[in-house]
């Protein structure tokens, strides 16, 4: 039992009021300077003798996936996607233009694709670095609070001992019992638990370590690497997909 159920009409991107626009050459300075982060472009030679109409006919089925709306405007296919299916091979791109242009000696496909996913992945390391600061701050605060609590308790104990407040001294919690293994585990050879003294030493050792936000730094690194992989991989996959469609491979 396989197959993907069609999306309900409400899930499809609504037809735009105006004709779809390509992200044109008159882009702002910001887009020109930083557009490479979220835009993937390139060119591909058409097979010899293939006309513009034929090329667009071959490319159009790639945009016939659920959640994709596309229009043919002269020599170009313009598309937008919303909630693209996970297995949509262009799922990472939210919009784009596939235009057939005349290069020096032959027609070529020039594609320009926009991906919010790539942009989000590019920004994600900054988000996780922000989380790192929050983690460091909260850990420092917790440690300071714990230290202050411990200090106050010790001061109280010292005061009680000094003033001879026998009642208060008597309420001190008894030392915890040592942990012991169940006889079955002891017979099967499981190692005995650490003594309370060893556990206290481990805790003291751990407390000496400076506050850490390692997970946040690791994820910042992971997303930086993911961005680089995605930026290269998705551009390559898109080009491969277009080539296969144009050459009928």
């Amino acid at each position: 039992m396989t197959g993907t159920a069609p999306l309900p009409p409400s899930a499809l991107p609504s037809r735009p009021q105006t004709q779809l626009h390509p992200p044109a050459d008159d882009a702002s300075i910001l887009q020109r300077a930083f557009g490479w982060i979220w835009r993937v472009g390139g060119t591909l030679d058409l097979p010899p003798g293939q006309s513009t109409g034929e090329a667009l006919d071959r490319l159009a089925p790639l945009l016939g996936t659920p959640g994709t709306h596309h229009e043919r405007t002269g020599d170009a296919l313009v598309f937008i996607k919303r909630d693209a299916a996970a297995q949509d091979r262009l799922a990472v791109f939210d919009s784009g233009v596939l235009r057939i242009v005349q290069d020096a000696d032959q027609p070529v496909l020039r594609f320009d694709l926009v991906s919010r996913s790539l942009l989000a992945c590019f920004v994600a390391p900054l988000l996780f670095l922000g989380f790192a600061q929050v983690m460091l701050y909260t850990e420092k605060r917790e440690r300071a609070e714990a230290a202050a609590e411990e200090k106050a308790e010790k001061a109280k104990e010292a005061k009680d001992a000094k003033t001879g407040n026998a009642k208060a001294v008597g309420t001190k919690k008894p030392a915890k019992k040592e942990l012991v293994l169940n006889p079955i585990d002891a017979a099967l050879g499981a190692p005995a638990p650490k003594t309370r003294k060893q556990m206290a030493a481990d805790k003291a050792e751990k407390d000496k370590e400076p506050p850490s936000a390692k997970p946040a730094y690791v994820f910042a690194g992971i997303f930086a690497a993911l961005y680089l992989i995605g930026r290269i991989l998705e551009a390559w996959l898109a080009k491969k997909l277009f080539r296969k469609a144009l050459f009928g491979e």
Binding site: M1, T2, G3, T4, A5, P6, L7, P8, S10, A11, G67, D83, A84, A85, A86, Q87, A91, V92, S117, A120, C121, A124, F128, F131, A132, V134, M135, T138, E142, L179, V180, L181, N182, I184, D185, L188, G189, A190, P191, P193, K194, Q198, M199, A213, P215, A216, F219, I222, F223, L226, I229, G230, L233, E234
Partner: protein
């Protein structure tokens, strides 16, 4: 689609669901491949239990458990890549990135929030208020029994929380986000609205005292049983395992597009809890997700409980406006 009667219910009337183990495909191929995919799960489970049971104290620590968990997940990631259960669940760059975003949230900022208002913090307040120490009822029990109790107490609570999420609209609004996933992968369990992830993580295990090694053994149980819930790999899982533990098959039924099927298999690890309460359905599904398999963006996943609450309130307060807006 007629569906199949399971107890008093008809499963699979709205969307394809395979019912019954005899109808679930098995791993095919050479003898080594079949051997590997038949024995992998029990071998990992018993191997991990033996390791943590006998590991010397200087090895039996959380950092080693983290390393083993990470290594095991990398292995499963590779298995998903080379031996996917369904091609329609094949990993893509976007799916990996989205899943890791949620894993990252869980490992960082949600952990911080949990430290302030999570179950440990809440139980701490209760214990302080009544001057309770932890209940040491279980500490003298055999280690494996303690490990089972740690996981069972949590899973039993999770079963009822999960079931409540499917039957009470306010909780469903938070949990429904997780049901918009349209395919299974290793990290899909982490995908969901943060409110739901917080709620489903609540437990009362913190009230009880256990030996430190029992926690490591419980972690091994959780890893070796729970990790398969959202995995895109097919195994020839033994029948005793399918009877006791939750599997990808069980959980895929829970995530299918068939409404009745989604109201089954609530337990996280121990499917026998579902068997006890009559909510277990043995089978599998490939076509997953809500709204016919509409994939939700991260932005919508974050906002969904709030926007839906707002819509519900508007509808309740002023039905005529709500109808007009629709």
């Amino acid at each position: 689609m007629t569906g199949v009667r399971v107890g008093k219910r008809v499963i699979g009337a709205e969307a394809p669901v395979t019912i019954g183990w005899e109808n679930v495909p098995r791993v095919e191929g050479g003898p080594f491949k079949r051997l590997f995919f038949s024995w992998f799960q029990p071998a990992v489970l018993f191997g991990l239990l033996a390791f943590w049971y006998y590991a010397p104290n200087d090895i039996a620590k959380a950092s080693v458990a983290f390393g083993i968990g990470l290594g095991f997940r990398i292995l499963l990631f590779a298995l998903e890549w080379f031996f996917p259960r369904h091609d329609s669940w094949q990993m893509t760059w976007k799916e990996v990135a989205v899943d890791l975003f949620y894993v990252g949230l869980g490992a960082t900022i949600l952990g911080v929030v949990d430290g302030f208002i999570g179950d440990e913090a809440m139980l701490g307040v209760v214990q302080d208020a009544f001057d309770w120490d932890k209940f040491a009822w279980f500490i003298a029990l055999p280690l494996l029994l303690q490990a089972f109790l740690i996981t069972f107490i949590f899973d039993f609570g999770q079963y009822w929380m999960h079931r409540a999420m499917h039957h009470w609209h306010p909780l469903w609004l938070t949990h429904s986000v997780h049901h918009y996933i349209t395919q299974f992968n290793l990290n899909k369990g982490a995908v969901g609205n943060p409110i739901e992830l917080f709620l489903i993580g609540l437990g009362i295990g913190g009230l009880f005292d256990f030996l430190p090694r029992a926690f490591l053994l419980a972690g091994a149980l959780r890893l070796a049983i729970g990790v398969y819930m959202h995995l895109n790999v097919r195994f020839n899982t033994p029948m005793w395992w399918r009877f006791l533990f939750n599997t990808t098959e069980h959980h895929s039924v829970h995530h299918s597009q068939d409404f009745e099927a989604t109201r089954s298999n609530y337990a996280g690890m121990y499917i026998f809890i579902d068997r006890i309460f009559g909510t277990c359905v043995d089978g599998e599904a490939e076509v997953l997700g809500l709204e016919g398999g509409r994939r939700m963006s991260i932005r919508e996943q974050m906002l969904h409980p709030f926007t839906e609450t707002w819509k519900s309130l508007r509808k309740r307060l002023n039905p005529s406006v709500a109808v007009a807006a629709e």
